[in-house]
Symmetry: C2
Subunit: 509 residues, 2 copies
């Protein structure tokens, strides 16, 4: 079966220099070369002269031959090259080279099926092994995080970068081929006026020099203070009100000082918004559909993905039921938590982990209908605040996965104008003018429906406007894209999933 591999070395066609110069070898990517060599049947490149532009991943010099692993970032597997000692004399790990040679089959028993018999080696950029930080040995994640610009040159980071790229491409395909018609991909603004989550953990924006302007006050390039977006949801609702189904993959920013392997100050969020959506089941079904489809398209056979792709519908349970189960676990099964689970306080990460890992055997779980008091103002009430819950709840969900816990969250949005205004009032988002305030001068009537004359919606008036004309029930969700990649790839810290991670105290390069 593998006799085609036996034509080793001896049968190399003799190419003279002038023939070579007439037909310069075609430069090929390692991925193409190796794929062609793995296909059933004879390798189309066998005995041909090819050229690779890449890096020396390792070099082993022996008396009669030298062996080098060449990588060009197109695949994790290197191309093996066999060289004359003289050709390899100057080679060291990390050097950029152009190498031409004959692609020869190896005798059976060798790790690789083919190797490149070098005819010409050109060192384009040296790498001094005494100083080059990336060697072919174990480097700690912490060490590598300090040199993200070079960390990318490790095989694993290179693989992660290609994996992310494939995720991005397939994500586009998922939304483009939805059965109900394509979802529209939008690009909402990064610079915003509002802090959607109300957490106050935003970054403020100043034009350079603004801080040191003579008045000591910040000069406002955009007239009013602006922040980096913490979520595109509010803008997505504006798009969805026209386009129906929309999605975005946008960077979002949180000036959180939390120092955990699950948080970054800058990360990509996949956000989806759908108009004419009436119930939370439709929303969780959509999430499950999208993520199963994406995972299926990434077509790897990693067993860890089975929990996402295959098997029965993911679990759904209400928040109230989840709390009951956690309390029961404490009372009856001796579960120990740092924070004891109570209905009022929400779920801690330790609770989420217990729900997924212990109560649901490591399968994905949607927890729905959280208490109104611990969720943002824009969420719609659960359709029936039934006797089960000790207080008001909203029609929302968190999706919990093993290892990474919460990876997505979403809700139906309050779509009725009077109701959203009342919620904004309760959450302290409506500005109240006082007498003497210039904005109040001679105002007898409210300047907006459902407000009193001294009230002002400020920078959220446009958001209320979305409910003022032609508002329909709608909902959506956000998924921490980097965290999801961290789950899919089995990388425990999100700081190692992002090439140039930004977090409290750290933004190298």
């Amino acid at each position: 079966m593998q006799t085609w591999r036996r034509t080793f070395v001896t049968s190399a066609p003799r190419l003279n220099a002038s023939a070579l110069s007439r037909c310069r070898p075609i430069t090929r990517r390692c991925a193409q070369i190796l794929e062609a060599s793995k296909a059933d049947g004879p390798c189309s490149l066998e005995d041909q002269e090819i050229k690779v532009n890449g890096f020396v991943r390792s070099v082993r010099k022996q008396k009669r031959f030298a062996f080098a692993e060449i990588s060009d970032g197109s695949t994790i597997e290197p191309v093996q090259a066999i060289l004359k000692p003289s050709q390899a004399a100057e080679l060291s790990t990390g050097a950029a080279i152009e190498i031409s040679g004959i692609w020869k089959a190896c005798p059976p028993g060798k790790e690789q099926t083919h190797e490149l018999q070098a005819t010409e080696v050109n060192i384009v950029g040296n790498a001094n092994p005494e100083t080059y930080p990336i060697q072919k040995k174990y480097h700690s994640p912490d060490f590598l995080r300090q040199i993200p610009h070079l960390r990318i040159r490790t095989p694993f980071q290179s693989l992660l970068a290609r994996f992310r790229s494939e995720c991005l491409f397939q994500l586009g395909c998922v939304f483009h081929s939805r059965p109900e018609g394509p979802f529209t991909q939008v690009q909402p603004p990064i610079i915003t006026s509002s802090d959607c989550e109300g957490a106050g953990e935003t970054f403020t924006l100043l034009p350079r020099g603004g801080v040191t302007s003579s008045s000591g006050d910040a000069e406002h390039f955009f007239r009013t203070p602006k922040y980096l977006t913490v979520s595109s949801q509010l803008h997505l609702e504006a798009y969805a009100a026209e386009l129906g189904n929309v999605w975005t993959l946008s960077p979002v920013f949180r000036a959180e000082k939390s120092d955990t392997p699950r948080h970054l100050s800058e990360f990509y969020m996949l956000e989806v918004e759908a108009n004419f959506m009436n119930d939370i089941d439709t929303l969780t079904n959509l999430v499950e559909d999208l993520l199963r489809d994406l995972t299926r398209r990434l077509s790897t056979t990693s067993a860890r993905w089975d929990r996402l792709m295959d098997g029965p519908r993911w679990h759904r349970l209400t928040y109230t039921r989840a709390i009951e189960m956690l309390q029961q676990a404490v009372a009856e099964n001796g579960a120990v938590f740092e924070h004891s689970p109570t209905w009022e306080d929400g779920l801690q990460t330790e609770h989420e982990k217990y729900i997924v890992e212990v109560l649901h055997q490591g399968k994905p779980v949607f927890v729905t209908d959280y208490p109104t008091a611990i969720k943002p103002f824009y969420m719609a009430p659960s359709p029936c605040n039934n006797a089960e819950s000790p207080g008001d709840t909203v029609a929302c969900f968190d999706l919990l996965l093993p290892e990474v816990s919460e990876v997505a969250g979403g809700s139906l949005r309050e779509h009725r104008l009077p109701n959203i205004i009342q919620k904004m009032r309760e959450y302290g988002l409506i500005k109240r003018h006082v007498e003497g305030d210039s904005d109040m001068a001679a105002r007898n009537e409210p300047r907006y429906p459902h407000l009193s004359p001294d009230e002002d919606l400020g920078h959220l008036e446009w958001y209320a406007d979305l409910r003022r004309w032609g508002s329909a029930p709608h909902g959506g969700f956000g998924l921490g894209f980097d965290r999801f990649i961290s789950y899919l790839s089995g990388v425990s810290s999100v700081r190692d999933v992002v090439a140039f991670p930004r977090y409290y105290g750290r933004a190298d390069c």
Copy 2:
């Protein structure tokens, strides 16, 4: 041929209420309905009951019937509905409705092939016509820019949003199916330390409250000052050094106060970087290839796109030649410019427009090899600074298109460590410590190759590092994505191409 259209009204199947409740009509998107009705042969939906969730774009009430145009953002063409006057009584432009009915063929001569004979109309969200700003009439761009959250509901903005979405999807396909293997899509950081272009027009970042900290000094969340990226190029070079061919579509930010229809403070830039690239022709060929492929995939028959898709290879000319031609145009053809063209001062927009529109009959033009002095530090010298040029030039290009002028720019990068350091020195990017400076204490040797002991690369040391180990010739480019969409769609201001535009003095919503 169109007899299948003749089965109008009379043949409507009688559906009783209980039958209806057993099989609720399937909700369909307008695009699907209209596409099915335009296909050759009988329409698969004809005489079926269907449901549309959408908005009233216009309504015309007559004595016996009412007619409404229903749109759901999936296509620019509305679905025509025919209603009883009682069903239409409350309808007004902008209202969100759920409408069910029978999809009936129209008699020949009507504008549309089919219309929806309404059986049930449910107003989900009213729109008061007295206050709703979007009516079925002409609104000036300036008026609409003040209400971007509602502007999206105009048919043209809705169409633009879908067009952008399709561009985004096809862009992914372009890079995924490159003949040399897929380009890796990367997500470089938005928060950076460096001002790549050296123009100083960056936005500075502060955690909220940082400005008002007691010391009066900004608290640095990331220890050192950070900015919003003005270009991802430097980071892309780090990726490309490992991955070979990379691309990104990332938001970039410029705190420019220029008030033109071609500039935004926040916009998306398509950036590409390729390792092992030796000459500017390879780069311009790549740009031309990518843009032709993208435009072809967008498969519209707009004549304006022919200049991109079809016809001979785009023009290339050197900057020096371009200046000569402009000067000749002034001397011999009476061309009049506000700024007279000189080799030292670069091209003004008026010059670029003349080069494209007059000198090249509105066809795309690459202008290459600009003077070194007017270009950033990282550009590599032109291979042969031949006698043609009065001074040093760099291996770079600008791509000029009709109407929008410069839409992309790129260069080969200086990839040799000593040379890039010398360039950084000349451009004042190297910090010089003075005696007594704590960083200088007891330093006798340079802390980096090719520096003197008092010099420091500061926040660009990582960028120099890319040349320190395994550096190969490479190059890349950036394309103003919004400006390119503005060209493709024929929209004269980029402020109308972006849903929520940000520019000096303006960042609504």
